[in-house]
Amino acid sequence: MVISLSSNGDHHALDEARAEVAEAESLGSPEVALAVHATSGPARSPLATLAWIAPGSIWLILFLIAPLLMIVLVSLWQRTPVGFEPFSFTFEAYTRIFDTPVYLNTLRDTIIRAIIVTGLCILIGYPIAFFLARCVKTIKFQIALFIVVLAPFWVAYVVRIIAWLPVLGRQGVINYFLVDVINVVDEPISALFYSTFAITLALVQLYVLFMVTPIFFQLATLDNAAIEAARDLGANPGKVFREVIFPLSLPGVLIGCIFVFVLVMGEFATVRIIGGGTIQSVGTLVNDYYTIPDLPAAAAAATILVAVMTVGVAILLRFSKIREVV
């Protein structure tokens, strides 16, 4: 069926008007104005350009690229009993860590853990961010609650991890409840603490804020007019969320995912303390190689980790097409 908007009169007047608008747009379009402006700006000397980009570049080279290159180089050098022999290139460190299945298994577990923790952070963090940004009406109250959400971050990282001990430990609250209060078990369960479950729980608690924050800011700055327009066109609250709010909040979710994924992939202390040596991550493996000492193997393990994280972030960016949303 063709749209039955009743049409009285011929198309002529409308077509003519439209042609004029097209002409006006080609004359005075902002893109054209912008392009003219960009090319007619004062010319900057190459030296000045260099001076502008120097601080950022030096920072990046000193604190990111140089250390990374160093790690890659060390991973390719010969191991010696006390360290390594510079410029003695070999792949032995890589063959060493792939000799046993330990590294690959740990890498797999680390990736799975990172994915699970990231997923849980979305499930827990999104509702918190949504509540803060869309349900709390006044900005004052919003900021106040946001600071409360941030509160755990005022406590040192290791303290936050160790704080789980009185909760999940053998003499912790949960075991006390299970054994002494309701008597469902005879012995305190030690697996509560030294377990994958405990690590996951602690990691989610540690990193959920990195999910809440970007989603909160994305939701708080959403275009309310688009939401009003959706309602005007007949969308109920559920559909407004599914069709407008959620898709528009995805860039925030994506940034949160990158934060949490990268942080959990590199996790070391939480796994060591709560895992109690029974559970490994690539981070703890690197530490193990380091203490043997096998510095080239530690460097090789770290190099592979960085490569895998980079691929992970690239996949996230690729699938979400972040630039297309906003």
Partner: protein, 357 residues
């Protein structure tokens, strides 16, 4: 169902804190009319529009369309849709997805709604850009997508909130013609809100001038330009000179007012001794170097002649107050010679217009 159009009866909107945003609005808008709400910011025009659209509710009074009461009816359930300021397109959806949104929400199945959406996109001349995202379109094209998005739901009336506000001037002037042509072709009621007098005059079948929360005057563009009802309208429409004084005579349908600048006469009735004011359009004022007549003439100093292409606007000084005249473009050279000098401004009695107090 009757065909009485949109009727606002005794509509008030009082915001918390006893702020009166809209007061005593009574309007009857026929189906197919192009209505422009005109007024300065804060005059209540947008609040009135929001009440018609269902985004706000009147504190008292009724709004009906074709006899159907709209008070309390959800915006989505009204046969009226809004084109929001800055268009409010969904940035993550393509042109087609934006336009079919309303039908999707009504539960129209995919093939039917795509067909209807494509017809609406065709109607606004954007068939070639169906799959683009809003940010890949120019301002005028986004405007058309916003129009197609509301047209597809086949409303009885479309509300446009400052629809040309975001466009540059040249494009604004062309879009006026396009919007008007589209409205004529569709025969749907358009209610358009703006603070731009020129835009209102050029587009409306009838203009509703709002000020201080009330409707100041309703009329055709020509009527408003020629017969502003009161001082607010005369001043807001621009290009009107208002002269105040005391009524010194009123007989035979002619009122004489003594102003500090001389006597003026206009058609109308009044009470001797009361305050009176007349409005004189800039374009009816005649400029000469003749002696000042005893009635309907003032001595002014010409400060500046502004060339407008088809006319020349004369900015003059009447004893410290601004006074305006508009003369034909071909007198520019002649008139400029008088800049800084005293000239005489006169007008015919029937061109002076008695204002309501």
């Amino acid at each position: 169902m009757s065909n009485t159009g949109l009727v606002l009866k005794d509509v008030y909107r009082i915001f918390p804190g006893n702020v009166t945003a809209v007061s005593d609005v009574n309007l009857e808008i026929s189906n197919g009319e192009y209505i422009v709400f005109l007024g300065p910011s804060g005059c209540g025009k947008t609040t009135t529009l929001r009440m018609i659209g269902g985004h706000d509710d009147p504190s008292s009074g009724t709004i009906t369309i074709d006899g159907e009461l709209l008070n309390g009816v959800n915006p989505a359930k009204r046969p009226i849709t809004t084109v929001f300021q800055h268009y409010a397109l969904f940035p993550h959806k393509s042109v087609l997805q934006n336009v079919e949104f309303g039908l999707k929400m009504q539960g129209v199945d995919k093939t039917a709604r795509e067909e209807q959406a494509k017809a609406a996109i065709d109607l606004v001349g954007l068939s070639a850009m169906m799959d683009r995202k809003p940010r890949e379109l120019s301002g005028g094209q986004q405007q058309r997508v916003a129009l197609a998005r509301v047209l597809v739901t086949r409303p009885k009336a479309i509300l446009l909130d400052e629809p040309l506000g975001g466009l540059d001037r040249l494009l604004q002037m062309k879009m006026r013609v396009e919007l008007r042509a589209l409205q004529r072709e569709l025969g749907i009621t358009f209610i358009h809100v703006t603070h731009n007098q020129e835009e209102a005059l050029s587009m409306a079948d009838r203009i509703v001038v709002m000020g201080d929360a009330i409707v100041q005057q309703v009329g055709t563009p020509e009527h408003l330009a020629r017969h502003p009802r009161n001082e607010f309208v005369a001043k807001f429409m621009g290009d009107n000179n208002v002269l105040h004084g005391k009524i010194s005579a009123a007989s035979g349908g002619v009122v004489t007012i003594d102003t500090p600048y001389g006597k003026v006469e206009a058609d109308g009735t009044g009470t001797v001794g009361e305050e009176g004011a007349i409005s004189v359009r800039a374009s009816v004022v005649k400029i000469s170097t003749d002696a000042v007549p005893s009635i309907n003439g003032v001595k002014v100093r010409l400060d500046f002649a502004e060339y407008l292409g088809d006319s020349v606007k004369l900015h003059m000084d009447l004893d410290g107050k601004p006074f305006m005249a508009k003369v034909h473009e071909d007198r520019y050279a002649e008139i400029r010679a008088y800049e800084g000098k005293d000239v005489t401004a006169t007008w015919a009695r029937e061109d002076g217009h008695l204002l309501e107090q």
